[in-house]
Amino acid sequence: MSLGKILDISKNSLSVYKQALDVTSNNIANASNADYSKQTVILTSERSDGILGSGVKIADVSRAKSDLIDKQLLSYNPKYYEADERSTIISQMESLIQEPSDNGISTYLNNFYNSWTQLATNSSSTALRLSVVQAAGNLTNKFNDVYQGIDEMKGDIVSELKGDVSDLNDNLSQVQELNSKIFAAKTTGQDASDLMDQRDKVVSEISQMANVNVTQNDSGDYVVSVGGVYAADRFSSTAFQVQMNNGELTVGTSDSSTPMQLTSGKMYAMTDMYSNKLPEYQQSLDSIASALVDTVNSIHSTGTNLNGETGVNFFDDYTSGNLKVSNKITKDSNAIAVSSDGTSGNGTLATKIADSKSSKVIDGVSIPDYYNSLVSTIGSDKTLSDQNSAANKLVVDQLTNQKASVTGVSLDEEMTNVIKFQRSYDASAKLIKVADEMLQTLIEMV
């Protein structure tokens, strides 16, 4: 081997270890970047023509991959975000009903019935009559507030979903753009690791929204479908929009031809809560209000009020979310009709209305019990969502940790590499000095 070769090998080594240190420094710089995939320098010996070697070279800079874990994350991410979104929406419902407290429908309903019980003690008393009107007013206000609060929640869900769909569309465009850039980089032999990290990050964000399916074709492009509908590849991406079909909230393609078949994800939680769960709560409230209006009016209309009238309804006919005490009653408490025989002091019907509290008028249960079970159902729905959210979060956290274990940066590891590459760099430099000295020796011999 000529001394020149030693110099060549050493010079190459310096370059290789400098590049290796570059990769390591990039790893260290991204140690806290959760989306970054660790890169590894793969060294190999330079091909030699003879017996002796020709030094070292960088065979590849590989990007750590965790395909199986990524797939599992794409499956569990939407489940976690769905449960979490449900939990958030139902927790708003819990805040709305304010149970158990002195400001919930339960208390106002009870006060309403008790005001009738008290009216029976002196049915001509203006104070007790006003107390009935006030208790009924408090009940109807609270009831309408809750009902309209659910309507407002539904409006908020639509707004939020529109925002999320817009984000989804942006993300899908990004997937298409990144597919394109990665393909271009690969065909020109450039490193596309950072672009791939970005693409994985975008796909992970999409998976929070809905059930997503990602496949990689032979060109290395991601082909993404969301909710069973083609969404993006290297050539195009689909724009989705929020749609309303017969009162049901859905997400579909802009031309309305293909609706998503959502089964998980934040968007599924929102559309399902909007189209099914919240209407269920409202239907229960409708049953309560209709039963209340029917039972009270059926008794009240048979009575005689202090103005000598009969056939007076206490509540107006109920229409969705509008429980209202009749204007006649609110304007004049003497219009409350509780006398069964026409005398002013007869309060028989007040007692009957109070007794109707325990009448089993909705599906075999009383109005207060039916409301209590609605509260219990809301609580159970929230508990179930919380449990699902916690369980799926545990899985997502574990998978994220597993992914970090494979693709994450370990500073200890990188610092060890730094020392290793630095030492190799030092040794190569030393070798140049040795070769130089050897050459010097030869020159001095001449």
């Binding site: 149970e99 009870n110 069964s340 007869n346 309060g347 007692t351 509260v375 219990s376 919380d386 500073l411």
Partner: protein, 413 residues
């Protein structure tokens, strides 16, 4: 397994967030002293707590109703005690008048009777909380007063027979008044049966008297309108044959036992008949009439001829004229005295029943509050210990993370 720096941070943050969330839950419980702050804290427990709170609130109202009822009945018994004193004075006067020495001073006793009439009238018009206690359910009108010619005491409101009821527990409705009709008025009770096979009118008649002693005929006829249902027509006709009052009610009998089921669609009760301008008020009680096949024999019995006020007015006027009370008059007063004692005892029973119910409500209230407390209240000692425990855990987490997280090989190079 490789352990990367992000794994360490993630694990620390997740565990730390869990401990903090648990601490927040305990702090909320301690701040509100309630384990149930939202339905999801315990869905079935919330439903139970709502039911218990509702029952507690119901009990409070029942207790308040009992206090109202007892106040009314206490005033009523107090008024009846006054009446009893006056009736005793009248009876003593009658005894004195039986002494031939006193019988010559009959007109002097007339004043005693007159004072007693005034005292009785005042007691009968006793007011409490804006209500005339003996006014029945028409308690805003003064029930009894002299007629314009001051010769008789009339029933001034249309109906003094109504009963007042209040709810004193979930399933008990308690009567809280003694109606004027119950204590003072003439009650004409009907008994016997009407024939279910007859379709034409089944008539019966009896005699009633107004407060001046004038005689009237009460004619009642039942006409079948449907199975077990009859129109009951009742007419009051004066001695000249002129109808002074006419009305009808629909009466329905039980198809099984023939007993009366309803009058005008309501629970059977007495029908107040107040003939305006005729000083005639009585209660017609058809509740004992039954429906039978092949038998029609309705009969009548009245508990008195005229009420106590007009009986005493008649006695007073007779005494003024020097005539001592007849045996019938004395018996009428004695009958009223007996009725007064009986009704007074009834009022006492109502009060006792309500006191018992109130005791029951009190013990139920304690029980319900205990159950609610178990469901809702926080075991403060336990919660504080849990909080302290979580606090230690968190401090430990802080300490260890501050020691471990910043360390890497860099620190040792």
């Amino acid at each position: 397994m490789r352990i990367t720096d992000n794994m360490l941070t993630n694990t620390f943050l997740n565990n730390f967030a869990t401990t903090k969330a648990q601490m927040q839950d305990i702090q909320t419980q301690l701040a509100t002293n309630s384990k149930l702050n939202k339905p999801s804290d315990n869905p079935s427990g919330t439903a139970r707590a709502l039911r218990l709170s509702s029952q507690i609130s119901d009990n409070d109202v029942y207790s308040s109703n009992i206090a109202t009822g007892k106040a009314a009945l206490n005033s009523t018994t107090s008024a009846m005690d006054t009446m009893n004193d006056e009736i005793n004075k009248v009876l003593v006067a009658f005894t004195n008048l039986q002494n031939p020495v006193n019988s010559t001073q009959a007109s002097a006793y007339a004043d005693t009777i007159d004072n007693s009439i005034t005292a009785l009238l005042n007691a009968a018009n006793t007011e409490q909380d804006g209500k005339y206690l003996f006014g029945g359910t028409d308690f805003l009108s003064k029930p009894f007063d002299y007629s314009s010619d001051n010769k008789t005491v009339q029933v001034k409101s249309s109906d003094i027979s109504g009963d007042l009821y209040v709810k004193t527990s979930q399933n008990i409705t308690q009567k809280i008044n003694i109606s004027g009709a119950e204590l003072f008025s003439t009650k004409v009770s009907m008994s016997g049966s009407i024939d279910s096979t007859k379709t034409d009118a089944q008539q019966s008649t009896t005699t009633v008297y107004d407060s001046r002693g004038n005689q009237y005929n009460l004619n009642v006829s039942y006409t079948k309108t449907a199975d077990n249902t009859y129109d009951m027509q009742y007419d009051v006709v004066d001695s000249g044959g002129t109808s002074v009052y006419s009305n009808k009610s629909s009466v329905k009998f039980d198809a099984n036992n023939g007993g009366i089921q309803s009058v005008d669609g309501k629970d059977p009760s007495g029908i107040s008949i107040n003939v305006s301008g005729k000083d005639l008020y009585f209660v017609l009680d058809p509740t004992s009439v039954t429906e039978k096949s092949g038998t029609s024999n309705v009969s009548y019995s009245a508990n008195q001829k005229t009420d106590i006020f007009n009986t005493l007015i008649k006695i007073r006027d007779n005494l003024k004229a020097g005539t001592t009370p007849s045996t019938d008059d004395i018996q009428a007063v004695k009958d009223f005295s007996a009725r007064l004692l009986k009704v007074d005892a009834q009022a006492g029973n109502y009060i006792n029943t309500m006191e018992n119910t109130d005791d029951l409500l009190t013990s139920q209230g304690v029980e319900l509050n205990t159950l609610l407390s178990k469901e809702k209240d926080v075991d403060v000692a336990q919660a504080v210990m849990d909080l302290q425990n979580k606090n230690y855990l968190m401090q430990m987490s802080y300490k260890i993370s501050s020691m471990v997280l910043p360390k890497s090989l860099v620190d040792f190079l």
